[in-house]
Amino acid sequence: MTALTLEYTDLNRALDEVRPLLEEWAAEHDEAAAPSDDTVRYTQLVLHEWIANLLQHAHFKSRAPTVQIRASTENRHITCAVIDNSEGFDLAEQLSPDDDADDFPERGMGLQIIDACTNQLSYTSTASGRHRLEFTIPADQDPCLSMLF
């Protein structure tokens, strides 16, 4: 089955289009090999949170933002890469536990949600000076965010 590759220079448009396109792509697979509906939903949620994070917080200097999204599936799990041309940041540091976290936080849950939904999560520099988020959503993922309740 072919991988899905999408590229955007308008991150708001990416937010609106990635969700339905991912759903259509997943539905093209044979039933036996297709990721479950919930695996697709977790992938949609992670991509939404990540693109929203880029839109709100990433520094692109004077460059026009670009983002490339690649998704593939094997044995019903989904693997994704999101390559952006921002300045990047230290994901591990942002994910470190915050002892002062609010019980009902208004902000800052996005990266925790991404972390809870994914396996093999990384955000690294590429040889071409871009940054690359990679993650896998396992089949039958049952994530749970422990930071709230």
Binding site: N12, L15, R41, A52, E106, M109, I113, L145
Partner: protein, 112 residues
């Protein structure tokens, strides 16, 4: 985007959440509920039947509502929760804070 808010009684309103509650319209949602909180509304039934997207900032704005009304024994209830919203509710365990009901009417009855 504006939110459709239906008044059911002096204390209870139903908010139709529409297709998405995310970082792009979370402030609109806050504006919508603020007006009703100031008018004395204490029970908010959020109708998620058409909602495809609920993100962390959207959920944060619901926490904001909860923080405002809970000191006065106010309640936030979720009704007709769509599967994409249910995924976020399960993930964040917010079902421990916000009761869920199959229909708006059942939520209204429980909060009465």
């Amino acid at each position: 985007m504006s939110f459709d808010v239906e008044t059911r009684s002096s204390e209870t309103v139903v908010v139709r959440m529409g297709e998405a509650l995310d970082f792009r319209n979370a402030d609109d949602f806050k504006e919508a509920f603020q007006e009703h909180v100031e008018d004395g509304v204490r029970n908010f039934i959020l109708d998620f039947s058409e909602t495809e997207v609920l993100d962390s900032t959207g959920l944060g704005s619901i926490f904001s509502l909860y923080r405002e009304i809970s000191p006065d024994d106010g309640k936030v209830a979720f009704a007709e929760v769509s599967r994409p919203v249910q995924v976020v509710v399960q993930l964040t365990r917010t079902y421990k804070v916000f009761r869920q009901f199959p229909t708006v009417e059942e939520a209204e009855e429980a909060l009465a």
